[in-house]
Symmetry: C2
Subunit: 191 residues, 2 copies
């Protein structure tokens, strides 16, 4: 196995273990065992346990932020932008379920500046969607509602998806899933 392949294998194994057991519960020895080598070798692939978590989290957070930015700068209507955001929130768990699992469940294991940076990015992300819904209301596209409550409720509603994809990934009809969720949310918002 080539060096680069083993690097990828390492990250894949570590990601899955942390997803299954949690960050705190996953030891460097667990990862080493799953890689079929000794504990000391773990540090040929990463700086520290903390750095491992940080890399996973900020990688996937960037995917979300980039996806959102692309949508926001488009010239679509608020309604259309909202549909595309729902699409983003369905597709990313389908593509990277384990990373999303960490994003949702393990971010509080970050420390100090990294934790603050994560919280700041998350708030920025939410604020963009709150503003988008407010714009939709002002434009008469969406019914009157509290954009803060609706944004929080909507974003939270996607958080079961990563588990679904890790458990039943092959069986899931993604377009159908997306259609069901999109109809449910948009019907709850349309003017």
């Amino acid at each position: 196995m080539k060096k680069i392949e083993k690097q990828n294998k390492f990250h894949e194994v570590a990601l899955k273990l942390i997803h299954e057991q949690g960050f705190k519960a996953t030891t460097m020895r667990d990862i080493a065992k799953a890689m079929n080598f000794e504990v000391a070798n773990v540090y040929n692939y990463i700086e520290s346990k903390q750095a491992l978590l940080e890399n996973f989290l900020f990688d996937i957070a960037e995917d979300f932020n980039n996806g959102l930015k692309t949508i926001l700068v488009s010239s679509d209507s608020s309604t259309k932008k909202l549909r595309r955001i729902i699409e983003l929130y369905c597709h990313l768990p389908a593509q990277k379920p384990y990373q999303i699992g960490l994003l949702i469940a393990e971010w509080r294991n970050l420390k100090d500046e990294k934790l603050q940076k994560f919280k700041d990015e998350k708030k920025w992300h939410e604020d963009q969607i709150i503003q988008l819904i407010q714009d939709g209301i002002d434009a008469g596209e969406l019914r009157k509602c509290n954009p803060y409550i609706i944004t929080k409720t909507m974003l939270s509603s996607f958080n079961w998806l990563y588990t679904e994809f890790t458990l039943r990934g092959e069986e899931i009809d993604l377009p159908e899933l997306e259609k069901q969720i999109s109809e449910f949310i948009m019907d709850g918002l349309k003017a």
Copy 2:
């Protein structure tokens, strides 16, 4: 301070710490320090760290299950039952936000039979609501949809509430919050 009061104080302190730091990250020393005594004394109040978690989780799980059962055995329509379930899922986080936090974030720290029992109860709970939505569709009260996807999405959408109540509990207008969420969900489901 009387014995019973100190018991309550202990559980209150432990619950808040586990909520804030996570179960794995919270040590018996953390709890002892917050109680202003030494580590050994912790075991005057609980059997073990694991038992502490189990008590918290199954207590609040019982609240949910009892609440759901009361609603299900009533003679209300499917729509009315669904509204009452939404009400339950808004009120419990308002009343016991820290317990709900553990229910959502820490259940996977359970072990063996306890973990299995928890998963079984959770599945029963979900299955009841899936069936309720199916009944609502069959009765023509709700529009045609995939009850499994909608149930998962709906139940997940409440999971931000406990955080909101721990951070801004006093400022929150509960009836308004409930109205916003109920309208959002019911509009997304009505026939």
